[in-house]
């Protein structure tokens, strides 16, 4: 319990001191995870819509695979991306290893199955309700997909937040492909891991609390926007 008390004190101290290194780390964490979620959403939502609306041979296998990929271990993704981006690997010439871009790539791969899989479920339920009416009005598959995505937007916000939670919380992938380089690829989770391994547990816990607070603020903001929109548009 004493550790948790010291952790609060550490966290408060860091924030009040407006520690520049800390702010840089928080900024980088949010930039990396939000960018990854944005890219993953751009890819995952259309994929989810496609799977919800279209029937094709092998669809069941694809759905099972997608659901399984939601549980991809981050460290495995990190390892695979590392092997691809390493100079000895196929994409080595891009020089992306140990950069924030590499971390974004790894987290994007982690988040795409979550966005696609969860949105597929939401959209499939909506399609069951809307299909006949939309087809009667003459909607093409792509128009129907766009309409469904807009109409289920509140549920989809939750899906995207789930993806963001996954990205912001993971350490395995960003550690391997980023290298936890001070001032360049050190993010909240890798910093916590480092301080833990140095035995500075109160500081590690303090950083953990700051990370939780940042994620909480983002979720709260999303909820506020959602409520306002529901009141206006129903």
């Amino acid at each position: 319990m004493g550790d948790i008390g010291s952790a609060f004190a550490e966290a408060a101290g860091l924030i009040l001191a407006a520690d520049r290194t800390l702010y840089g780390i928080v900024q980088l964490s949010l930039a990396v995870s939000m960018t990854a979620v944005a890219v993953a959403t751009a890819i995952g939502l259309p994929l989810g819509a496609l799977l919800a609306i279209r029937r094709f041979p092998g669809r069941q296998v694809l759905l099972v695979t997608l659901n399984a990929l939601m549980g991809l271990p981050p460290v495995v993704v990190g390892l695979l991306v590392y092997l691809m981006l390493s100079r000895a690997g196929p994409l080595g010439d891009l020089g992306l290893l140990f950069t924030p871009e590499a971390m974004i790539i790894a987290q994007t791969i982690l988040v795409i199955p979550i966005v696609a899989g969860l949105s597929r479920q939401v959209l499939e339920d909506a399609w069951r309700e809307y299909e006949e009416q939309l087809r009667s009005l003459g909607a093409t598959a792509s128009t129907a997909a766009a309409t469904l995505l807009w109409d289920t937007r509140y549920s989809l916000v939750t899906v995207v937040l789930a993806g963001f939670g996954r990205a912001a919380a993971e350490v395995g992938a960003v550690m391997i492909v980023g290298g936890n380089i001070d001032g360049v690829t050190r993010v909240m989770t890798t910093a916590i891991s480092l301080e833990t391994s140095k035995g500075d547990l109160p500081l590690a816990l303090g950083l953990g609390m700051i990370l939780l607070a940042a994620v909480f603020v983002i979720n709260a903001a999303a909820q506020i926007i959602k409520s306002a929109a529901v009141r206006r548009y129903g």
Partner: protein, 277 residues
């Protein structure tokens, strides 16, 4: 993945510009080094001096010695800076490095619980201490991760006449972790452990542990620096990497190493140019 890479790059630039500029596209080298060097705080002390002098940003990826040398083999680092002479010389023999230069040494210490069930405290003979630990079946935590520390530990068992692979019992815990986490484990288990002095001095979660054996010549831990061979990996930043190595070996760099202290104690002892290490 190429598409994702491009999208990621564009998206990241947009977001990063919106948040705050992070160091991109300046002169930098990638140095693969060990967790013990990073966690002691040495780089935090050394690198700003070098960067201010040359304008070259040094990016340290801190992993175990085995992984650091692997990064060099794959061309993912420009310089490797580790502490396992035999592994470094094999690295050179394989043609991945240009030349090895000794830079500095620190020492290992044998850490153990105050209660000292194996009775080794104050001994000047590390090999005897290890035999006593094995004989008593006292809890011992090993890095188990091909790091320089791990390699040194295995060499000590062998020199003590113990075939650790066959003779280890449940008392011997190979954790596969870095020095810090391994110390955490030893602290939690009240176990013996071989650690480098630097990480120990910076380690705060000590529990009942303290230094029991130190000062033996066998515990000396030599660091070497190697430029990754540009003939194997043409993209290696030869000029900047060599500049870093030259600085480490220079009187100025050596003095900076000696000036690094924790709690008034010097951690690393510069010995560039010393033969036979």
């Amino acid at each position: 993945m190429g598409l994702i890479a491009r999208l990621a790059h564009v998206a990241y630039l947009v977001v990063a510009l919106a948040c705050a500029p992070i160091a991109l596209a300046q002169r930098f080298i990638t140095v693969a080094s060990t967790t013990s060097t990073e966690q002691s705080g040495l780089f935090g002390h050394l690198l700003p001096i070098f960067e201010q002098k040359t304008g070259i940003d040094v990016r340290v990826v801190a992993v175990g010695t085995g992984q650091a040398l692997d990064l060099g083999r794959r061309g993912d680092a420009d310089v490797v800076f580790v502490h396992a002479r035999a592994a470094e010389e094999e690295f050179l023999r394989e043609g991945y490095g240009v030349q090895r230069y000794p830079v500095m040494y620190n020492d290992f210490v044998v850490i153990g619980p105050k209660a000292d069930p194996a009775g080794i405290s104050g001994s000047a003979d590390t090999l005897d201490a290890f035999r006593k630990i094995a004989g008593a079946g006292a809890a011992f935590v090993s890095r188990g991760d091909r790091s320089g520390t791990h390699i040194a530990e295995l060499a000590l068992w062998e020199a003590a006449g113990i075939d650790i692979d066959n003779e280890k019992g449940p008392w011997y815990r190979a954790t596969g972790q870095g020095m810090g986490p391994a110390l955490n484990t030893a602290s939690a288990l009240n176990a013996y452990i071989l650690a480098d002095r630097g990480t120990w001095l910076a380690f705060s979660n000590r529990g009942e542990l303290e230094i029991l054996v130190e000062g033996d010549r066998r515990l000396m831990n030599q660091y070497g620096v190697i430029l990754v061979n540009p003939e194997r990996h043409p993209h290696v930043k030869r000029a900047e990497g060599q500049a870093f190595i030259d600085w480490l070996l220079s009187p100025e760099g050596q003095a900076a190493i000696a000036a690094f202290e924790i709690g008034g104690e010097q951690l690393f002892f510069p010995n560039a140019g010393e033969p036979g290490v």
